[in-house]
Amino acid sequence: MLGYIIQRLIQAALVMLAMSALVFVGVYAIGNPIDVLISPDATQDIRAAAIRHFGLDRPLHEQYLIFLGRLVQGDLGKSFVLNIPVLDLVLSRLPATLELALASVLIGVFIGIPLGIHAGYRPDSLFSRGVMAVSVLGFSVPTFWVGLILILTFAVNLDWLPAGNRGPTVELFGVGWSFLTWEGLQFLALPALNLSLFKLAMMIRLSRAGTREVMLSDTVKFARAAGLSEYTILHRHVLRLISIPLVTVFGLEFGSTLAFAVVTETIFSWPGVGKLIIDSITSLDRPVMVGYLVLVAFLFVTINLVVDLSYALLDPRLRRGGRAA
């Protein structure tokens, strides 16, 4: 088991290295950031000084090595535009995004899985068909459009919930959170719902498929023959049996949630990293772009690692063998 963990860690580090190189080259190789930073009327001298100042005159691989060396020390450079360290900037915005992503994943799990199990348990009922129709919509309708409809319905027409911004936050562990107050929750509700729709659809589909398969298995028949109630069977047997694929998807989805937060945060003016990257793209603020992408890649790799390791916890058959069969 330990060997497996070490092996996975090395693998994760390699993927990180590859990602950082890709991101760096991708972002720095094309276009010239200096055009955005300096007014076109600036003299040649000021221009050259700025290029030197930002280290843009060196060969690309040198720039990358410097970047990598700093990266290891947690230094992602300074924002061209705001002139503050990228790490500070990203970290200050990260809690808002994490809170949003977590809230939407929780909605996906705690609403999606029960609905999916129900739809798999009684596939022909009207309710299940309705659930499946919603999940088809969740898959195909773009997130931003759903966000607009949510705002139109709940903020403009019904005036129940605020349409944007984060609202008041409460400090906990030195970071501001929305979910601790009722008002904060109201601000969180629409963006979280918007972001969760895709996950909800996916959880419904997966748990429905899993349940349909498991319900026909001998395990369920044997449990029924032992007199277990349908509730106990669904709750104890089926849920555990379908949870293994769900955990994988859950992990991967958490990563894509961070990505899709870009859209939701823009619509709802949610001050997270997603809004930050959009702003940095429009202002060609490369260090911020690179910093954000490296961070997302890091989160991704970490999540994949955690998912792989939690397999072992969920499936006792793998615990001893160490490696997934």
Binding site: L216, S217, D218, T219, K221, F222, A223, R224, A225, A226, G227, L228, S229, T232, R236, H237, R240, L241, I244, L314, D315, P316, R317
Partner: protein
């Protein structure tokens, strides 16, 4: 002995797109307390569906169409699901063919047995674990108490089936339906489990319906045997007499195809043809197309031939041997 189970004219049909599959057709039999009944037939003969019908677990699109199942005087056909559930595991239990598929791979043995205990009131967790451990010990699992925290994959196939049997025994049921519980196991383990089941049933006075495709297994275990063909019981009677002198040509065919019955060097006799599709049964005797004794008469429904304690569904029973 009073009858524990009385089945009358049971019909279980499956309503599929291709048509109605009459998996169980007019099956009648009775079972006394503590009696061991062997239910024999080829795959698709309806023996498993008969077992599931008794415990009320026929999956859609199948359902019991008509007939009666009286268990200890109570009618089970049409019993509300909740009432049926109270009987399952408590008074009627079932063991399945493949223990690798029946036990939940991601729950410990202890948890699964606890769930079965608690399904019928159960009481405290402590008491539940004790009961589970004692029952595991009864089916011959060493160090049962410490094995409760193990997962199914940590057991061998035979041990897994013992766990399943122990789960069935938890509440001391009056009837256990065993659906080919040894088929998936090694031959040496099969014999062990067979002997143990027989002993457990006799000890506790539990009636046992042993479903098998193997006449030889049944002969060493059962008091009485029923042979099923195309959803019908074509012959039934005490094991020794049925084996010695079968009435139905189909039973004869089954016996002839047993390796143990053949003389050394003699070729095994196969029954010609194959089991008919239950979707399109010929009128009259379903075995007629494969039967050497069939004639025009066999196109009409075969009569039941009764001898003392015996029954066969045939126009031309092998009476000479009787």
């Amino acid at each position: 002995m009073s009858a524990l189970l009385e089945v009358q004219e049971l019909r279980t049909h499956f309503f599929t797109r291709a048509g109605v599959v009459k998996a169980v057709e007019r099956v009648s039999f009775a079972l006394a307390r503590g009696e061991i009944l062997g239910l024999v037939g080829e795959s698709g003969s309806g023996k498993t569906v008969t077992g599931f019908s008794l415990i009320g677990l026929v999956d859609p699109p199948g359902r019991i169409v008509s007939g009666s199942i009286r268990f200890d005087g109570h009618e089970l056909v049409g019993l509300p699901t909740a009432e049926m559930r109270k009987l399952r595991g408590k008074r009627i239990a079932m063991v399945f063919q493949d223990p690798a598929a029946t036990l939940n791979p991601v729950l410990t043995i202890g948890t699964q047995m606890m769930l079965a205990v608690q399904a019928h009131g159960g009481g405290s967790e402590r008491a539940g674990r004790d009961l589970a451990a004692r029952t595991l010990a009864r089916v011959g699992i060493p160090e049962a108490a410490s094995r409760l925290d193990a997962y199914p994959h940590e057991f061998s196939g035979g041990m897994r089936q013992r766990v399943a049997i122990a789960t069935a025994l938890l509440h001391g049921p009056e009837l256990i339906i065993a659906d080919e519980p040894t088929t998936a196991l090694d031959v040496s383990i099969q014999a062990q489990i067979l002997a143990e089941m027989k002993q457990l049933a006799k000890q506790s006075g539990t009636a046992l319906i042993w479903i098998s495709h193997d006449l030889a297994t049944v002969s060493s275990l059962a008091d009485r045997v029923m042979v099923m063909y195309a959803g019908r019981i074509v012959e039934s009677g005490p094991v020794s007499t049925v084996l010695r002198s079968p009435l139905h040509p189909y039973t004869r065919g089954l016996l002839d195809s047993l390796p143990a019955m053949a003389k050394p060097g003699q070729k095994l006799n196969q029954i010609p043809g194959s089991t008919p599709s239950l979707l399109s049964l010929p009128p009259g005797c379903p075995f007629a197309p494969r039967c050497s004794r069939a004639d025009v008469l066999c196109a009409t429904d075969p009569p039941s031939v009764t001898l003392p304690g015996r029954l066969a569904l045939c126009h031309h029973p092998l009476m000479a041997a009787a």
